[in-house]
Symmetry: C2
Subunit: 237 residues, 2 copies
Amino acid sequence: MGSPYGFELVENCVICKLRTDSFFCSLPKTALEAFDKIKYSASYPAGAVLFVEGQSPRGIYMLCKGRVKLSTTSAEGKTLILKIAQPGEVLGMHATVSGTPYEITAETGQPCQLNFIKREEFLNFLQKHGDACLKAAQHLSKDCQSAYQQIRSLGLSHSAPERLARLLLEWTASTHDQAEPKVKLALTHEEIAQIIGTSRETVTRVLADFRKRQIAVLKGSTLTIRNKSVLEKLVGA
Amino acid sequence: MGSPYGFELVENCVICKLRTDSFFCSLPKTALEAFDKIKYSASYPAGAVLFVEGQSPRGIYMLCKGRVKLSTTSAEGKTLILKIAQPGEVLGMHATVSGTPYEITAETGQPCQLNFIKREEFLNFLQKHGDACLKAAQHLSKDCQSAYQQIRSLGLSHSAPERLARLLLEWTASTHDQAEPKVKLALTHEEIAQIIGTSRETVTRVLADFRKRQIAVLKGSTLTIRNKSVLEKLVGA
DNA sequence: CGGGGCTTGTGACAAGCATCACGAGGGCGC
DNA sequence: GCGCCCTCGTGATGCTTGTCACAAGCCCCG
């Protein structure tokens, strides 16, 4: 079938080509089929809001394709980005599992395909399928870990350059041992600022400084690390 | 039986008087008995280190009695306290479930009773007992939530008074509708500073300011909120 | 009761950064 | 092609707070 957002909508998890090795995708067949029965597939355009902090949990969203921005906002309107979710991740699981309101906001950053599962059916599913429940626990653990990492970044470093250096290293962590690692990312300075908890102007200035010192260059949406060791020094001390 | 730290060591979870309504304590009988079989009970003095960030996970600790300080430390030796764990909480579950190194350090803040469970046996236990696994997921969700709350506090507020006000309100959240809520806590200014990510001197100064303005008074280990609405105003805007 | 060692209180100073303000570039629709 | 809006670049300014330095309590223990 066709789709309004430029890609095929895959309706069946069992034969899905998007499946990654992460989380629910890698369930044994019986669990996967059960999962397939209770899910609702849907496509969303960029900028769609899946849920807002404070809402009581309707259920979980499993991200098949695209990127989703997870953020939280203060009373004054200041926004902090918690993470950019990648395909394979499950969104809104904390709230759904614990029954408390969503504590974060999820917004698609580009056209996305998602599977939605209602809260009750998801909880039932977890109870029936022990291996799925264990996967869920693992997923929650990962979320905790990334949260702790962000706490470290926010709480244990005073300078904005240090936090930005840490973020750049994080982004290029998967590119092993290249002379000049390159990463594509479609984030504005404003959004980067919201990740590391600083102002847009500071990000601009620090990036300009990095460019001048030949440490890292962000051109268009391509980030190139020129001197990884200096970045590591910035983070380390 | 006697105990070196001034309280009885309860050896059997099923008949344990310390049981709270939280997490594994409130399991159905069969699961509780299985839990009881694989656990090792032990008492620890104040200042004992249960695990250190970076270690590969040996297993989980279930806190029955006492308080445990969970923290993380930067390369420069700066410490950030993530939370003070209360009885009923499980420590080290993220690392144990996901198999990655402990990302935080756990240190007893007073004499404690803990149950330890080896990683493999714990994972087995979760797989066999679906309701326990669900409880585990709920516990992890709670941890995530408190982590997100701390991220909000660190990332979305620029002033130290604001963060301290938020912390005080958090501490007194359970004391509903008292004219002047009082809370006992045995934390030094240094430790408070490590929770809200500021310096010891700043905590001292802000507390002095709060005292002068009749907002909150910390005397010995007793905290008294004199004017809750001002605190809420500090947090809100 | 008289020391250490830890905690708290306070002043001075400078760095870091948020904020405001404004201008330049670049993409997109009309 | 023209204008509009969003993003990026950059200067000036002042507040917040980290840091250093040191004095005063406080508590525990011999």
